[in-house]
Symmetry: D2
Amino acid sequence: MDELKQWVNEIHLELSTRADKGRVADYIPQLAKVSSDKFGIAVAPVNGPVITAGDADESFSIQSISKLFTLTLALGQIGDRLWERVDREPSGNAFNSIVQLEQEQGKPRNPFVNAGAIAVTDVILGGHRPKEAIGEILRFVRFLANDDAINIDRLVAESEQAHGDRNMALAHFMRSFGVVRHPAAEVLGVYFHQCAIAMTCRQLAQSGLFLANNGRNPATGFNVVSPRRARRINALMMTCGHYDGAGDFAFRVGLPGKSGVGGGILAIVPNKAVIAVWSPGLDASGNSLLGTAALEMLAQRTGWSVFG
Amino acid sequence: MDELKQWVNEIHLELSTRADKGRVADYIPQLAKVSSDKFGIAVAPVNGPVITAGDADESFSIQSISKLFTLTLALGQIGDRLWERVDREPSGNAFNSIVQLEQEQGKPRNPFVNAGAIAVTDVILGGHRPKEAIGEILRFVRFLANDDAINIDRLVAESEQAHGDRNMALAHFMRSFGVVRHPAAEVLGVYFHQCAIAMTCRQLAQSGLFLANNGRNPATGFNVVSPRRARRINALMMTCGHYDGAGDFAFRVGLPGKSGVGGGILAIVPNKAVIAVWSPGLDASGNSLLGTAALEMLAQRTGWSVFG
Amino acid sequence: MDELKQWVNEIHLELSTRADKGRVADYIPQLAKVSSDKFGIAVAPVNGPVITAGDADESFSIQSISKLFTLTLALGQIGDRLWERVDREPSGNAFNSIVQLEQEQGKPRNPFVNAGAIAVTDVILGGHRPKEAIGEILRFVRFLANDDAINIDRLVAESEQAHGDRNMALAHFMRSFGVVRHPAAEVLGVYFHQCAIAMTCRQLAQSGLFLANNGRNPATGFNVVSPRRARRINALMMTCGHYDGAGDFAFRVGLPGKSGVGGGILAIVPNKAVIAVWSPGLDASGNSLLGTAALEMLAQRTGWSVFG
Amino acid sequence: MDELKQWVNEIHLELSTRADKGRVADYIPQLAKVSSDKFGIAVAPVNGPVITAGDADESFSIQSISKLFTLTLALGQIGDRLWERVDREPSGNAFNSIVQLEQEQGKPRNPFVNAGAIAVTDVILGGHRPKEAIGEILRFVRFLANDDAINIDRLVAESEQAHGDRNMALAHFMRSFGVVRHPAAEVLGVYFHQCAIAMTCRQLAQSGLFLANNGRNPATGFNVVSPRRARRINALMMTCGHYDGAGDFAFRVGLPGKSGVGGGILAIVPNKAVIAVWSPGLDASGNSLLGTAALEMLAQRTGWSVFG
């Protein structure tokens, strides 16, 4: 454990000095405001205290990492019927591409592209009012992380909404195929709020523990999902969790992970730990540049890759 | 080990009685001749004797599984410069799609789609005559499997050649972008022969041992690749090894694997074993139907999924 | 003139007895209600009285033919600056395809695909309230046809709105590129109303006279557009006026024309006449089956093809 | 006629001084050698002597204009059965795109995209040896132009062959769908030679006279095609004759035309004349920049647009 702590500190220190930190997302003003110097790491072992370095206790916008939580929630609600609405294959196009959606008759490729996540949120909405669905998602994330201090950044949610035409197009498009069933504005009202959830690296790492521990959160003892479902969610993260950079992430890091344009990445080390990193500068595929590098270095030193 | 042998036998027995065995590939006559009743399983533990069931010692056409061997060979020859010629991302389209190739200026998505494998073969050709390159590939496969009895099925190779227009189109197309550099007919002459290599499940399982054992073949003691490269090849198999069914294979089986339209699948269990299955009937994505089912059941019983 | 009248009657009679009348559009309930037996023809010579046959004085939903009127109106408002917002090339895809729109960064291929027509309507909206823009379009159509009895079918407009997700997707998508500038719901509010304009074949034929007469309506004496602009609008109808069937229409009929899914087609015979046909049954490309056949026969007998 | 001669000279003079002459095609060395200063115009009225200006009697590579001749030849051989092999719709993609070909199962969009022209050449080959087919095409062009001095530029043909991977890819691709039936190398052997036919503006203008004169060559009195077929070929030139710039050419010039990357354009004025222009500099769509401008100016002054 002391060795792990040392590695985390070394990696944080080494990467902090890098000149090229990537490019902070600027498609919404609220994200563009974040300093590219922020950099946090948290590692939550399945059987030990959380190890942190840097800005690991500062909140940031989890953005697409929220798709992992809503996927888990929707699977809990309707089980494998979810796969009638969304597929499980990696997407060969950019994360918000509408082309592939048309080729496949409105069925999104996987729950981690925007279209797929919107379809999942439509499932969670399930006849409720948007406000209730937002509340349910937030409560679920607090339950997973075992931390009631987690909240939604309303300014980010509003900013998303004001720049949400591409996602509105996706929602209307899927509605025309019957894949999205609630009014597009309601579904996106929920979706923009889930993306605006703010969490720290520490909270994120804790929230993913059930995936590293066969479905059971070791901190709380709650069985969140079955061992089989935990494996399957990890598999989806491996093949689809990094937009059009999933192949590269698997190649370099070798762990299931889910990234967000806020600069966070959540990675699962089955049976061992959860790693959460945050650095707002992104690479060309929209994934955290330093965050990916940190995970690559940590996986290398610990030998945690699932691939041997 | 006795438990593993029992599981393999049970799974073979249970699946043998299934009515739906999928559809045997018929795009070349030589493949269409194979009986859909053939079904073999071989498991090669990293530290123990091979376990088999059914037709595990009957040769079949390995087809696209050969792409795994040529990838390894080409990486040995030019290392990471290979990634200038071919990408590492899963493909959202069918395995022989030319559309994506055009969108990406002739650079194939990964070494396991046909275009990517042809580009890899072009690297191996490397100025030699086709005959020499074919010989080199065959010798490498024999070396990996530690079995000099492995050969090429000339009838299959000729049949491929006679129905090779789609692959010829891919080769010429990449040549127009400078990604393929030798004459198209020469590159495909080699490619069709590598696809026509005939192996048994036992031989296949043995040939993959280096990937399950950090790059070193435990049967021969030879270091084939570095531990890091072994991990990376496994990662590529996980994200790209099953055409447009890679996401589903990871979801259901949870192991790196490479399939071929001859009905074979090679799956790696890091640090533990290699599994080779063969059943010629294919599913809609072109992967062995019973073979995938067998791997899913075996991974379930053994707990061998890399995802927890 | 008597000869022309006879031809029109003969063609109407001959086609009326055809068993295969095509398939009435059913994507909105209000269109699906129309009988497939309806069939009208009107020919308006530039220098003589209108000739009609069949249901030429019964109103029908002009649908996409309205795109011709809004294009003319928008060109009158902002001139050639319109071409910064929409291109002038035929589309190789179906009329409501979003794929091509993504490939071309949100700039529609031409003003007659749905996306292009929505962009044109956004121009006409020009800061006004939707109600005012709808009024302006209606007044313009009445002016062109020289008939104040023309109206909008409110039930059709509401039905379009209720099934408008695909068009909403297009509008939001173009908004994300800045090609559409008003709120999507406002633009489509106008668009759905323009498509719901109801006209008779006689009114349609009269409304197109300015295009057959170098920009000047011979019935009213008003110069609607310059001779050059009239030619150019005719050219656009020739290359883009029939969705993915423009090539076939030019090949068979040889006249500039614009069709609508309501079953109407407006065709221009430069310097000679305007032809309007209506038969609700559509062919596979979404163009009136009998209407196209009638135009082909009439162009053949009159020698009116522009191609010799 | 004197007026026409004056206009032709004025336009030639005015455009000759333009600084921006476009970019000479450089995809094969033989084309890249041609001076961008070359500029010729020839107008062949259906009932009068040919009028010329500039380099109208200098030979150049007709390239894709040859597709017009092979289309006419193939229609003469198998009639409307040709449309089972190739469609008649404008293409929304670049002239040598393979994407659309895949979406449409190997059937080319029209006879003027490369794929379509290759399929037409496959028809002409019709079991003969390539040499014979080349001879037949050349004799047909000489017959059309009424000039036995027309020849093939062997250096250009060889240069095309040496850089023909993209077209080889198209041929193999169509062969995989059964649309092309002869060996790809044979079909392209013919195709590269037809593209390498060298003609002057005068010869080109004469060769198109049958299309301006209801199928009958007024110079020789031969009926080349029926009036209906002449109209239809003109229609195809209008909607598909300028690659992805067909809409713009119709919009600006208003005449059926076929361009080639050698810088030539052949335009038909039904019942009046044929215009041939040549200037090697191309615009972004691959059509002659000055040539298109000359046609636009001439159509404007003469009022020859078919659109009014």
